[in-house]
């Protein structure tokens, strides 16, 4: 009687297992490659410091997909999501538990610098092994299509007259990218930025609902989040933070900050890092694979699809870039009085 019952459970379980096994194991590739005799032998885990669907996650999945599909890396590259603390949780995990590891990589962007600068974590990019900058996105400042503000100057003048009169909204917290990129521009125009109300929304969708529903007057967010509304004509662009105009059809008429007399750019870069003291052979192997990847048509197609700008920067140049960015962000945060 009991055996029978147990048999039923086993049957059910094995059914489940068989059903699910069929779908999950695709995308794995166990063939060895002659280029590196001893490395890699184990799957290389790529950590996305936020949940599925986030920018980091998307980056990690796009990169691993091309690397394994084009056989640039000969082992499987599972993506592991370690969300928390704006990336701080994953950072302390990698620094503390993965020192010298050869089978772990992690994807980051400016918050890696910000969480260190504003004291959320004691670890910084200097604890990691920077491998390459992959691409960049830029920030966008805009208003609803029927807004009384026609230019960025209109917004800035209103803010100068009364800092509380215009509500700014972004999809990240105060002191993070959406907030900083706008306030950096406003500070240069002489606005008392500490008094400007800033509403932070959870994600681009809510932010846009807030803009269209009139909760905020000005939106500051990444270009990628706003494209759909821009195309539909619901939103008018006032500025982008790139050094030059963006090429996309929908964006080419939006002025850069520089064109409007504000000497600033804000780059939302994404890069790939190894753990602290990553062995050189592993670092070189990955760096080579990435260098080959950025030349593939698949990678170019991915960049176009998500409207990412190719700003690939390998090795030491990437480290130099990070040093500059760190100084720049520190300056902005100090200006805003967010750090001392």
């Amino acid at each position: 009687m009991c055996i029978k019952k147990y048999g039923f459970i086993a049957l059910l379980l094995s059914m489940v297992i068989i059903l699910t096994a069929g779908c999950g194991s695709s995308g794995r590739n166990k063939s060895a490659e002659p280029a590196a005799p001893n490395y890699p032998t184990q799957p290389i885990t790529v950590i996305a410091p936020a949940g599925p669907g986030s920018g980091w996650d998307l980056t990690a999945r796009s990169v691993t997909q091309i690397l394994t599909e084009k056989k640039l890396v000969s082992v499987a590259m599972p993506v592991e999501n370690r969300a928390g603390g704006g990336g701080a949780v994953a950072l302390s995990h990698v620094v503390e538990n993965k020192k010298g590891a050869e089978d772990t990589l992690i994807v980051y962007s400016p918050p890696l610098l910000l969480i260190n600068l504003n004291g959320q974590t004691k670890f910084s990019y200097k604890d990691l092994t920077p491998i390459a900058k992959l691409f960049s996105d830029y920030q966008f400042i805009g208003v609803k299509k029927d807004s009384k503000f026609k230019t960025l100057d209109d917004v800035m003048n209103a803010l100068k007259a009364d800092p509380k009169s215009v509500k700014i909204g972004g999809a990240s917290s105060p002191g993070s990218m959406d907030h900083l990129s706008f306030m950096m521009a406003a500070a240069q125009k002489g606005v008392n930025v500490k008094e400007v109300p800033y509403l932070s929304f959870q994600g681009g969708g809510e932010l846009i609902a807030g803009l269209l529903g009139g909760s905020i007057d000005v939106v500051s967010t990444s270009v990628g989040d706003i494209l759909g509304q821009l195309e539909a004509g619901n939103v008018r662009g006032l500025a982008v933070t790139s050094p030059e105009r963006l090429k996309d059809q929908r964006l080419k008429d939006i002025l850069t900050l520089k064109e409007q007399g504000i000497d600033a750019t804000f780059e939302v870069w994404r890069g790939i890092f190894g753990p602290p003291q990553m062995p050189d052979y592993a670092k070189n192997y990955i760096a080579d694979a990435i260098a080959k990847m950025v030349e593939t048509d698949e990678w170019r197609a991915t960049l176009t699809k998500y409207n990412w700008q190719n700003t690939y920067l390998p090795g030491d140049d990437f480290v130099k870039f990070l040093d500059e960015q760190n100084q720049l962000l520190e300056g902005i945060l100090k200006n805003l009085g967010l750090i001392k």
């Binding site: 009991c2 019952k5 147990y6 039923f8 459970i9 059910l12 489940v16 059903l19 699910t20 779908c23 999950g24 695709s26 995308g27 949940g51 599925p52 669907g53 998307l58 999945r61 997909q65 592991e80 370690r82 969300a83 928390g84 603390g85 704006g86 701080a88 949780v89 302390s92 504003n118 959320q120 509380k164 509500k167 917290s173 105060p174 002191g175 109300p197 800033y198 509403l199 932070s200 929304f201 959870q202 994600g203 969708g205 809510e206 846009i208 609902a209 807030g210 269209l212 529903g213 009139g214 909760s215 905020i216 494209l227 759909g228 509304q229 195309e231 539909a232 619901n234 699809k305 998500y306």
Partner: protein, 498 residues
């Protein structure tokens, strides 16, 4: 008329063999994955994204929608059978669903859940089909102050979960809000109540509390009662009876309506609608005392409403590009992968895509019903496994579910802690439902409150100055006062009887 012809065109696409197969695979995998612990709709969709690369865009999206639907169906199964909710939308289903299962009526509960989901899903698609563009305005009418009012309403509704006194439900709710404040404040980055523990930065996941307070505490309660371990549950019918269906029909319709309305609101709909539906059913019922002890309407309403909300959630996604939940955000990513920008231009620019998706939703709903109904008696038998074998399995099930969220053993300790807390709360008649609900809603509520106050430069009058927010708050007050009104009525009645 043109709507109909476009729909028929879409239907032609949807019934192409390859697309039918895609729906079937999606629905089946979704159901199976939805049953697994910790692998809810989000992970189900995420897992299948790579699989869709080789497909045509319509086929891929149709499969994704099938997975999403299937996972929503599958989520209720573990709630009913094991008292283990896999996602926030099926917490409410636990309360009466598992009680029914313990009485040997798992078949009724599962069947009613499947049928309710089918009705709600279908009604939701009808709404999506005819009213999507106009309804998208509802999504925008709800701004932070309205969301705050809505959270208050949902919290009030949550106090009707389970038996016990109002005051205990309120305390339980407030405790949930307090637990919800643990972690890094998303607005200022201030770290709150983590006591230096980095793993708590992102707060305590809802699943940790839900599995602890429901599944684990149930196991603990059963393992300390020697009699229940040996008693076998008398297995009644494997399917809902006609009586069950009659009793729950209107609950399904009301649940669908509530779900569809709340589903239009991105962010809050999927979580709040089952609670509101449960509360409404309890208030309207002729036998409110049965709620919490196995009322079939307490399964039918909330299950319909979460599926209604799941379909209606496509309205803001497809018309505005606003994802209403994590799964929706992922689906948005899938759309973009195919170079389709969800938003105001999706329907005019890609009509074939839109209509074949709609048509495939009908097909998917029917297919899920066909797939799920035969499974009901099979699943219902799980409850028949001898308790000493089943209870440890529920433990492991919960452990895996929690571990797979963050790969953290701290979460497992918290899970165990919540299990013990839930056991004690049962002993002293504090309902767990409001706590779990408040844990989910608290952070949303705090955010809405702070956004609103920033909008008004600190003036709290903003909540009562705006008509929609005021109306919702009045509704909440009304809900809160119902238990008092009922009590007074009872007193009057008994006086007359004397």
């Amino acid at each position: 008329m043109s709507t109909l012809s476009m729909f028929l065109n879409g239907l032609q696409v949807a019934v192409q063999p390859v697309n039918l197969l895609a729906v079937a695979i999606g629905a089946l995998l979704g159901t199976v994955i939805g049953v697994l612990p910790g692998v809810g709709p989000v992970s189900a969709v995420a897992l299948l994204v790579p699989l869709s690369f080789g497909m045509r865009p319509e086929t891929a999206l149709i499969m994704m929608a099938g997975v999403y639907y299937g996972a929503m169906y599958g989520g209720s199964t573990t709630s009913i059978l094991l008292n283990a909710p896999g996602e926030s939308a099926s917490v409410v289903t636990c309360i009466d669903g598992h009680e029914l299962a313990k009485k040997g009526r798992a078949g009724s509960a599962l069947g009613v859940a499947a049928i309710g989901s089918f009705i709600a899903g279908t009604l939701g698609v009808i709404v999506l089909m005819f009213l999507a563009p106009p309804l998208s305005r509802v999504a925008i009418a709800f701004q932070p102050p309205e969301y705050f009012a809505l959270m208050i309403l949902a919290l009030v509704a949550s106090t009707s979960l389970g038996e016990g006194s109002l005051i205990k439900a309120l305390i339980s709710m407030c405790m949930g809000l307090i637990i919800g404040t643990v972690g890094q404040d998303i607005q200022t980055g201030t770290v709150r109540f983590t006591f230096g523990n980095n793993e708590l930065l992102d707060g305590i996941d809802f699943l940790v509390a839900a599995l602890g307070l429901f599944a684990l505490s149930e196991v603990l309660s059963e393992s300390v009662e020697p009699n229940t371990l040996v008693t076998r549950i008398p297995f009644k019918s494997p399917y809902p009876t006609l009586q069950d269906l009659k009793q729950s029909f209107w609950a399904m319709i009301r649940g669908s309506a509530i779900g569809i309305f709340f589903g239009l609101l991105p962010g809050a709909g999927l979580i709040t609608s089952p609670f509101v539906s449960y509360s409404v059913e309890k208030q309207l019922s002729k036998h409110p005392e049965e709620f919490g002890k196995g009322a079939i309407e307490g399964v039918a309403g909330p299950e319909s409403s979460n599926n209604g909300a799941a379909s209606a959630g496509f309205v803001p996604l497809l018309t505005l590009g606003l994802p209403g939940s994590a799964t929706m955000a992922l689906l948005l990513g899938v759309f973009m992968m195919w170079g389709i920008q969800p938003g105001p231009l999706l329907i005019p620019n890609h009509p074939q895509m839109f209509w074949s998706l709609i048509a495939s939703m009908y097909v998917g709903n029917i297919m899920l019903l066909i797939l799920n109904l035969p499974m009901v008696p099979l699943f219902a038998k799980i409850i028949d496994i001898p308790k000493p074998l089943l209870l440890p399995m529920i433990f492991i099930f919960s452990f895996i579910g929690v571990y797979s969220i963050n790969n953290s053993t701290l979460d497992l300790w918290l899970l165990l802690g919540f299990g013990v807390l839930g056991f004690l709360m049962r002993l002293y008649h504090f309902p767990a439902g409001p706590l779990v609900m408040a844990l989910v809603l608290g952070p949303l509520m705090e955010r809405a409150m702070r956004q609103s106050l920033t909008m008004s430069n600190g003036n709290p009058a903003i909540f009562v100055e705006r008509p929609i927010s005021l109306a919702v708050l009045i509704l909440a007050l009304f809900f809160l006062s119902i238990p008092f009104l009922r009590a007074r009525k009872k007193v009057k009645k008994s006086k007359i009887a004397c």
